[in-house]
Symmetry: C3
Subunit: 247 residues, 3 copies
């Protein structure tokens, strides 16, 4: 059983954070929250999304799991204006999701959850450094790095208490330093890891410019990025595996 | 003999409604109105446009016919700002149309009208149902249908007195219901026809979002859509042949 | 030695006027001004740009010459908002240009100036006619001419004291007349030359719509177009060779 009413903008923000990594996903319709966990086909990037029942105008669920084509659900959501409410109702018999926006109704065929890549277990990592920039700052660093390289280095300068985003190209280099006063917060620690820009660019597309993004970082360790949406009732964690440095 | 002065926006609205169906057309320069009738190469969609002399700042004509390349005339009109006046004058000897916008003048070679597909006779049909939605509602139905299918079904639910736009895809369906109170007007009647979305999408491009569109509909019959522009002095009728249902 | 601070919009306007003709250029870092002269690979179009020291927030140079990839420098400049200041500093040892925008720094590898096409000497021509339209009028004439032809004719009607922009297509013609009262200024003289539209379209991209453009013109002679930017402290001259008429 699943029926829900949610604002178009909340649904879109939720879907966007997953669709940057995968085309299809399982959605867990828990009693008190909707949960999506997904990993990209190369096992490099993961997302863990939770949308609390309170983020919905109405929400009723009993723990089922559905499989959806994200692009199609995003197309439907794009038919609504930001303020519009989107009604969703699961037809248990036909295994279709009825999506209604005003007089418009869309019957979406669901995907057998068993045919979808298994949900990842996002590991607990005790990462030594934590930095909190705004989404716009991450965007700026990624855009600059992208001018010169396919990789991006994220590190903490413990002495300066700054967050450093670097990229080395064949001839040109980019270097973006965020001091303590530029950041919402920083907990310095030994942290220096290299990542594929492609994945970070995709994740960056989903991160709102004004979101405070809690970045957990280590030495040649995965990076975790946490941010909230839907007025604090939606939560996203991205995790990205590092590229081992030194060739 | 033909000389006319018309606002750029009126000329553009007129040309757009024809160019969605054909590249070239005949323009009848009647004494009291300009008339264009055209049918697409596959004989599926027709347009009948009338622009009254009163829609022009100045209009003088004596019943001649000219053949024009619509794309080219639209390019010229696009050089004007919306409020600009466009002067047109036919040079009978050279068979060229002189188009002037401010200091700019464009000499457009006309096409021999005899080389252009014959103008269609748009048949009088006594269709049982008439529905009057706004252009924006038609646009919404077409956009939604386009997500799942190449065809669109238009029908009237006589019991509910509602206008139903439907599309059936391989896995997903779309269903858009406009009740009496959503519509400008409705005269229910037996009406249920299937149409090619390609043609409706083209016609829809020309229909202003805020236009009241009078839709005449029957059972496996062509649909007619009528709307006005140029403050009620321009009139467009689109007619689209149905796709016979049932395979 | 070279260090400079300049507003992003001034740097962008300067680079744009050169990058429409060439991909790489030499920049002369004179004591009191920065100078770029370049000619396109086909030797048809030339640009001469001067940006006075006073156009910078800070400027220190001693006459060196650097070679730059314009696209790359434009990419960097695009990272700044219009009001942002861009800091540039030449590292004499590494022959790299350090470009800083806020916390972001970009290390740009320079190009050996000797490997870049030699700077042209823009000839002194005593052209008989001078016309001063606004950039927007040149844009209008070029856009209209582009609808019918690959060439554009610029001439002065000495009797009417007007500037005439013409293009002759296979079937259609365009004719744009600017009278004395439409122009900032005109000094009539024998002037009638044909030019390749491709080059003029490129130059036109760099000319601000509201710039007063001093156009010098002769009979089958090159055209020169002069305009200022950066509040009168930046100066651009474009010169374009004519296409000889009469085939």
């Amino acid at each position: 059983m699943f029926t829900a009413i949610v604002s178009a903008s909340t649904l879109r923000d939720a879907l966007d954070s997953v669709s940057v990594l995968v085309d299809e996903c399982k959605i867990r319709l828990n009693e008190d929250e909707l949960v999506i966990r997904a990993v990209d086909p190369a096992n490099v990037g993961m997302v863990d999304l939770t949308l609390e029942a309170a983020a919905f105008e109405a929400y009723e669920a009993d723990g089922g799991v559905i499989g959806v084509n994200l692009g199609r659900l995003e197309d439907i959501a794009s038919m609504a204006d930001s303020g519009d409410l989107i009604h969703m109702e699961l037809d248990e018999e036909t295994r279709k999701l009825e999506v209604r926006i005003d007089g418009l109704s869309y019957t979406l065929a669901l995907i057998d959850p068993d045919s979808i890549r298994e949900e990842p277990d996002i590991p607990d990592l005790d990462l030594p450094a934590e930095i909190v920039p705004e989404g716009a700052q991450i965007d700026r660093g990624i855009t600059a790095a992208d001018m010169v390289s396919d990789y991006i280095q994220l590190r903490v300068d413990e002495a300066e208490e700054s967050f450093v985003i670097e990229a080395e190209g064949d001839t040109d280099d980019v270097d973006f330093v965020l001091e303590r006063e530029d950041l919402v917060d920083i907990t310095p620690g030994a942290a220096d890891s290299l990542f594929s820009l492609d994945y970070l660019k995709d994740m960056n597309k989903a991160i709102p410019n004004d979101a405070e993004v809690r970045v957990e970082l280590g030495d040649d360790f995965p990076v975790k990025m946490h941010y909230d949406f839907a007025e604090g009732l939606g939560h996203v964690t991205f995790m990205l595996a590092p590229r081992i440095q030194g060739d």
